[in-house]
Symmetry: C2
Subunit: 401 residues, 2 copies
């Protein structure tokens, strides 16, 4: 059996996830890793444990040679980048849940772990409590993976569930999510789809071996959703979910995007409500598989972080097998996709260059059209879209490519 | 990065799963492990590849020193035991999908891999395409796991789905399952719940660290299900599924059983139909998680076997962490459970020693009662039950213990 390394932890951040990890660690019978010190930003904030555990100077952890693992659970991606790279340069292992930071420096961070011979694990950054990276690394190693899609953002799923179930407007559902701590006070990262996209980029590397720049990937959130869209979905028996997608277009090419999507009641994702996440993989031989678990909350995320810490104590590292195999080499946005577009002005609609149209609806208050557009056109419009009086939903009908 | 071991495979069995593995292996870009030789029983059976690949003498594989991995995919558990132990004694790694054999010799096989310093992997034996063992080993290592339940037998789930959807009797649904290759010609292993129980015993070791003798665990299948039971379930908005369960009764004690169970439409398992399997874990911090995937078929099972082969090439071994931690030490059947009992004779019903009764129904053709019994009483009746004109379903209402 493998020998277990004794871990002495320097923790950065003591917010919802940091405290959740602390709880989980204290209740774990598996092992007792010591949290040697906790670095936080605000010296005035009241803490639930004695102040002697805290420091406000990151070097108290980074320069402490007795600490061999840094667990990074702060919000600020720039500070997180400095902490994580600083730790690796000093030969410390790192566990992080910071999707923004990881997605934006992904290749560099992966190369650093080889260079400095440390392990860098980040399961909680992608699926919160769903062990998707580990499963892609270990289990789908040799699977011909057609596609992966799912619900990766608990905040927007909470908002969409509330709107669907209680018929309340977006702004009210958003405020409730903020009050419950499911969404940040500046919710753009969640509701504009950035968070889902960063997670998708991390997953894409472990699914297909490509390090994508987030800027390359089209994302669209739920900021402009209206009660009309929800009512339309309900009448048709659908729920609307924010669904990131990545999939093959041929043997060596993939595409990916983040879009709201209609989900019918016979689909697994239909029952993934509130702060839950769910991921569907489709593969040549294993066929369709589904994973679901909590996508937000300190304890759920904390338990994912603890699983990384535990794996680390056994010497675990991601192997980046798909990257080393190099089967997938290309990324494309030339991909046809059927959407529902709710709009007000014909000028707006014309911008989308619909290739086919199957349904049209016009009324005094708004119009919608269902038809096929090219993902590359959506990408060209990406900076305009948030300010347009439109809403886009992937119909999710069978692959039309 | 870990160095990869070159694997030379001796394959036992070339039925549905063996051929499925062969297909998956041929399509895999991940690596090319060589199947050196295939041992089969019947020299007269027509094969889809040239006969030079086959042997009928197991020693041609076991005594071939160039073969370092034996993949065992035959039906006969006694022959499988001889092959697997023979291979380990000769220093060969082993991958097996034989739940009957593994569950009945579990502790001995696990001890042998340490003694002979080989790796023994068997993911496909428990959840077919669902990587449940790997997740329990790697991911739930430090989780306080309350319980695990699910659908682990594709044949019975196929039969129950057909009965529910098409209103056909058990015997007809069974025959269809046999014709499609989802059930064996002697279907007792599936329909009496043995298969689900063997899988549950394997999972229990990786979930809680106990090696249970299958004989200790109560199981009950679907052989005696009637159209009355299906109609009753439908009227109440339920489906009936065969659901193995294992869970904690206190910090160091678990219980387990296999019973049909009512599933309401808001539950994940409700949509796990036909040959699909699904597993739900409930844990202190990660909360509820759900995994689903195909539970039968050559390609789905073959891809699980290939994942084991791939893991083996990276030197992977199960760590049996829960067993080594030794937190759970006791097994109990003293557990109160609410059941629906359909019966004909009052004498039969009295055998169950109901502690509480909440509903009773009587008619000319049959009767049912809903109430609380003790699992230990069901266990005492286990040899009588198959011949009694009764059917038992776990109501699945909230834990009453």
């Amino acid at each position: 059996m493998t020998t277990r390394q004794k871990l002495r932890i320097g923790l950065f951040g003591y917010g919802v996830v940091g405290q959740g990890l602390h709880d989980v660690l204290n209740s774990s019978c598996g092992f007792k890793a010591d949290i040697v010190r906790i670095c936080v930003k605000d010296p005035l904030k009241k803490r639930r444990i004695p102040m002697e555990h805290f420091t406000f100077n990151r070097n108290d952890i980074l320069n402490d040679d007795s600490i061999n693992l840094v667990v990074e659970l702060i919000n600020d991606p720039d500070a997180a980048y400095e902490i994580v790279t600083g730790a690796m340069k000093r030969g410390k292992h790192v566990v992080s849940a910071n999707k923004t930071m990881i997605a934006n420096h992904f290749r560099e961070l992966v190369e650093m772990q080889t260079k400095y011979n440390v392990s860098f694990l980040y399961e909680a950054s992608a699926g919160a409590s769903i062990p998707i990276i580990r499963n892609l690394e270990e289990y789908y190693d040799n699977e011909l993976l057609h596609s992966l899609r799912g619900i990766l953002n608990g905040s927007t799923n909470y908002i969409l569930t509330k709107m669907h179930n209680e018929n309340i407007p977006f702004s009210q559902a958003l405020n409730e999510a903020i009050e419950l701590g499911y969404a940040e006070k500046d919710p753009s990262l969640d509701i504009d789809g950035f968070d889902a996209k960063f997670k998708l980029c991390i997953i894409t590397c472990h699914a297909y071996g490509l390090f994508l720049e987030p800027e390359e990937v089209f994302h669209y959130g739920i900021r402009n959703i209206s009660k009309f869209d929800i009512r339309y979905a309900k009448e048709k028996g659908f729920k609307i979910k924010l669904v990131p997608y990545v999939g093959k277009t041929n043997d060596n090419t993939i595409t990916s995007y983040v879009l709201p999507r209609f989900i019918s009641s016979d689909k697994y994702l239909y029952n993934v409500d509130y702060e839950y996440n769910g991921i569907i993989t489709e593969a040549a031989f294993a066929d369709k598989q589904f994973f679901s678990g909590k996508g937000a909350g300190g304890h759920a995320t904390g338990s994912a972080v603890l699983s990384d810490i535990s794996a680390l104590s056994y010497g675990y590292r991601y192997e980046y097998k798909k990257y080393l195999q190099g089967t997938v080499t290309n990324y494309t946005r030339d991909f046809r996709i059927e959407i529902y577009l709710r709009y007000k002005n014909e000028n707006d609609r014309e911008l989308f260059n619909f290739e086919e149209i199957s349904e049209q609806y016009h009324s005094n208050t708004c119009n919608y059209v269902i038809g096929v557009v090219n993902l590359s056109r959506l990408y060209e419009l990406r900076h305009k879209l948030p300010d347009m009086d439109v809403f886009i939903i992937n119909t999710g009908r069978k692959d039309i490519n």
